[in-house]
């Protein structure tokens, strides 16, 4: 059997995103999400002996696990900061399982949150070398990086604006079935997306996630302990990860991006094929990320996502259910917690608790995470059966 990290998610907690955090701190949001997950798992805080947190740039730059442990009131025997941008949430899940298998702990709280204060600049303090070799030329921030990626895709493969717009369209459509989504009650047509302002050509405003305040937590435990859990456990069946670069200018060729490694790796660990997947829970900070992720799954060839998205339907009742919670494009992105929303939707679907957006017979989900500009990538296969 293929070697893989083993564990199961027995609890999830997710705060309803709000545009602004209004007086809350990142530590208080982390605690809110953590307590929801602990309650959902039906365990007590004494059961938690592992803690994974994300970096909080500018707020708690160092000693993050100790600060969060102290604030929440935990004394973990394993803790760490996972720093993979949008891949952090998915990256936490396999790391938790690996730490459990290594005998360092048995039940790990993986928690992410972010405040979003009105008027606060969202620019992150970039460090060298990106600060030295990108920022002085007028390229700061993710919008321009993802615009460059999208432009390259359009030039190399001839993909069209209408193809990318399909991805934002389905995210927003799916969000109409999720009352927690920031864009619930605000449907969009493809034309609305194509007519939205250009932020950094060829990228439209409505192809970009909305920054929000929020938080998300999952609890990972051993397969043995999961059998006695209150909820139906959701098992980690396989994982893959690859990091190739930081700055978009240093990225590999557009057909050699790191999802091309980590998605097949996760499927191989799970000993399944992409056709066995019932839910695609794909990280979607920008439409172009979903495009190249789909092309890395094997569902379509590099350069052919356009045909794929024009031919298929991506709702919970479609032929390829994709981001049934609305994705981050529809749900909102509470910084790193946004990436965890893809894990949590997979858990909810595999438990069969997705109510009006439940996928029939959902057994397996592919979850992806992506940090920087397709730089840090993680893929997970989650399954409802051990």
């Amino acid at each position: 059997m293929t070697k893989r990290p083993k564990g199961a998610i027995i609890g999830v907690g997710e705060l309803k995103p709000t545009r602004y955090s209004e007086g809350k701190t990142t530590l208080s949001l982390l605690t809110e999400a953590a307590l929801l997950a602990i309650k959902d798992a039906g365990i007590s805080k004494e059961d938690i002996d592992g803690l994974l947190v994300g970096p909080q740039v500018g707020e708690t730059p160092q000693h993050v696990p100790a600060t969060v442990s102290e604030y929440i009131g935990l004394e973990p025997t394993m803790s760490n900061t996972v720093d993979l941008g949008g891949a952090t949430g998915a990256g936490m899940v396999w790391r938790a399982a690996a730490a459990i298998e290594a005998g360092m702990c048995e039940t790990v709280l993986c928690v992410l949150a972010n405040k979003n204060e009105k008027g606060e600049a969202l620019r992150s303090p970039n460090r060298n070398p990106i600060r030295e070799f990108d920022v002085p030329f007028g390229a700061s921030g993710a919008n321009t990086s993802y615009a460059l990626l999208k432009r390259q895709h359009m030039e190399v493969y001839g993909s069209k604006q209408e193809d990318f717009a399909q991805i934002a369209y389905w995210a927003r459509k799916n969000a109409q079935l999720n009352p927690n989504a920031i864009f619930y009650g605000k449907p969009l047509e493809v034309e609305d997306i194509l007519n939205s302002p250009i932020i950094s050509d060829p990228l439209h405003l409505l192809e970009i996630v909305m920054p929000v305040a929020g938080g998300a937590a999952v609890i990972v435990t051993s397969e043995e302990k999961a059998k006695k859990a209150k909820n139906k456990p959701v098992y980690l069946k396989g994982a893959g990860e690859k990091i190739t670069h930081r700055a978009v200018s240093q990225a590999p060729a557009i057909d050699a991006l790191p999802f091309g490694y980590c998605i097949p790796h996760a499927l191989k660990q799970a000993e399944i094929a992409i056709s066995d997947i019932d839910l695609l829970s794909l990280y979607d900070c920008y439409t172009s990320v979903v495009a190249v992720t789909l092309e890395s799954t094997g569902l379509c060839k590099p350069g052919e996502f356009g045909d794929f998205v024009q031919k298929h339907s991506f709702g919970h009742d479609g032929d390829y259910p994709l981001n049934t919670h609305g994705g981050q494009l529809g749900f909102g992105q509470a910084d790193l917690a946004g990436g965890m929303s893809h894990v949590i939707e997979a858990v909810i679907q595999l438990r069969g608790e997705a109510a009006n957006r439940q996928i029939a017979h959902a057994k397996r989900a592919l979850v992806t995470g992506n940090g920087a500009t397709l730089s840090e990538t993680t893929a997970l296969v989650l399954g409802g059966e051990q």
């Binding site: 002085p136 030329f137 390229a139 432009r151 200018s249």
Partner: protein, 139 residues
């Protein structure tokens, strides 16, 4: 941390390793490191060769010729000082010597094209000379 008025364009944050790159630009020379073990050109400047881990690197003048790999016409800049200059064009270019770099493109929007040939244009900003790129002149 709201955007301050009169904020200046961000200067390069030069390190001891990259100092020759910026010094040579002041002399209107684009210089890159070359690995003496594997002969590969390297960008951005490093302490070692990321291809073969060789540590014997020498500075060599590059042609300044490149092709456009991608570009974006920025309408909403990520830095407040750059917002005043929108719309402007940033791009990724593949240097003739191999490495890719991010740059500012002095190319009319209507002339932007994949694989378009460009050449270096030395631009002084805030006492630093930056390697921008412009359409290649006819030789």
């Amino acid at each position: 941390m709201s955007s301050a008025p009169n904020i200046s364009l961000p200067k390069p944050t030069i390190t001891p390793i990259s100092q020759p790159f910026w010094d040579n630009l002041k002399q209107k020379k684009l210089s890159l490191q070359v690995c003496q073990s594997c002969d590969k050109w390297i960008f951005y400047p490093r302490h070692h060769c990321p291809y073969c881990f060789g540590t014997s690197l020498v500075w060599r003048e590059a042609s300044g010729k490149a092709k456009i790999k991608s570009w974006s016409v920025v309408q909403r800049a990520g830095h407040p000082a750059w917002q005043e200059r929108t719309p402007y064009v940033v791009g990724v270019v593949a240097l003739e010597e191999g490495p890719s770099m991010l740059t500012h493109l002095w190319v009319d929007q209507k002339d932007l094209a994949y694989q378009k040939e460009v050449e270096i244009s030395y631009e002084e900003i805030n006492q630093h000379v930056l390697p921008f790129f412009k359409p290649r002149s006819i030789e």
